[in-house]
Amino acid sequence: MSERIQAVKCVVWDLDHTLWDGILLEDREVNLRPGIAGIIRELDERGILQSVASRNEPDDVLHKLRMLEVETYFLYPQIHWEAKSHSIRRIAEQLNIGTDTILFIDDQPFERDEVRSLLPEVDCMPAEAYLELPMHPRIACNPVTAEGSARRAMYIADCKRKEEEAAFQGPADHFLRELQMEFAIFEADASDLQRAEELTVRTNQLNATGIPYSYDELAFYQSDPSHKLYMCELTDKYGSYGKIGLALVDTARPEGWHLKLLLMSCRVISRGVGTIFLNYIMRQAKQHGEQMTADFRLTGRNKQMFVAYRFAGFAGAINDGEEAQRLVNDLSAIQPYPVYVRVVEGRQPFIYESEGRH
């Protein structure tokens, strides 16, 4: 069995002698290094987020990035004089991703060593290797999907939500009500499979097993009459969060439905909608049997999901082994959906309009 590759979610660029060919504050006239613009676009199409960690004067740098027409690609750029490890931590926090999903590219060995010493989980790459970036296995494993290329736009929408949330007067929970969230659950069709594959590769925290599925495996389950492959999409007044969840159920077992996989993107953790999908499947399962079972594997990163399963009534022993273990739910108590979300069955007509595709 091949080793699991953890996909890179964000590339953090140094600027002087890395993104461009010189030192901005000394040379004034700097240009993107050959091929960089194409690489930035390709990463973007693969749904990989990008940011900047540069020890520099912010105003000069932002002006230059705008002149070079690449400013919009970089989320939460860190342009100041503090350590790069600090910048990387801050980017990870803002994007709500683990530092082990970041790749950092810089021409100076000192900077790479500084990051490595404090954040050994960050993949550090020398700038001279930049042309190989698209072929890096942890980058190339991110498929090009419509969802992927809209990801940056969705993070920008999320940035607006965060600002509004911070400005909201009153308890955070009341903010959820203001969002007018709608949670749509539907069975996947062929056009969803790439996004489904991407979710199994990219989702760590809210993932019941951490087991990735290939496109072909998912295509099999999607058309197999004894399985159901569900997806869900969340929208609010700011727009769509995209297709954010995936669940795979074996419906052919005599003792009841068996949930093989359930996961949800970390993008929606703060929205408090994590258990809706699980509750929905439990409701469906109840129409088909007295109980249901589910596979679960503790991965060291999915405690939240474990708590969600336990609090939904899934019982059974579990240890830290490599194999997924079986939990059982007698379906005697299914929690109601939270009052601040409208749950709808079936695909919603709303299609996310990404930037630059008008």
Partner: protein
């Protein structure tokens, strides 16, 4: 030590309550109200661990311990009891 009071206050503060006069008791199943969100479970566990200085193990993770104020209080009391007996045994 009074356990019920702080637990009840904590839950009250964190419910998504829309009607301020909503009635609930120490026996009410808080997860059947539709007034808690999915992050609440994690918050509640963290609160219990830090407020009462106990460790909630994977095998303690059972909805039957956390459904109501009374159940949560009984769980915490039991945990504290076990901890006290443990330290006494070591002293003896």
């Amino acid at each position: 030590m009074n356990i019920h009071r702080p637990v009840r206050d904590y839950i009250q503060r964190n419910l998504v309550v829309f009607e301020d006069d909503m009635e609930w008791t120490d026996d009410t199943n808080i997860f059947q109200l539709g007034l808690v969100h999915s992050l609440f479970a994690m918050q509640l566990l963290q609160y219990i661990e830090s407020e009462f200085r106990i460790v909630i193990e994977n095998e303690d993770m059972d909805i039957r311990h956390f459904n109501s104020v009374n159940q949560i209080a009984a769980f915490i009391a039991n945990k504290l009891d076990v901890a006290t007996q443990g330290s006494q045994a070591r002293e003896g």
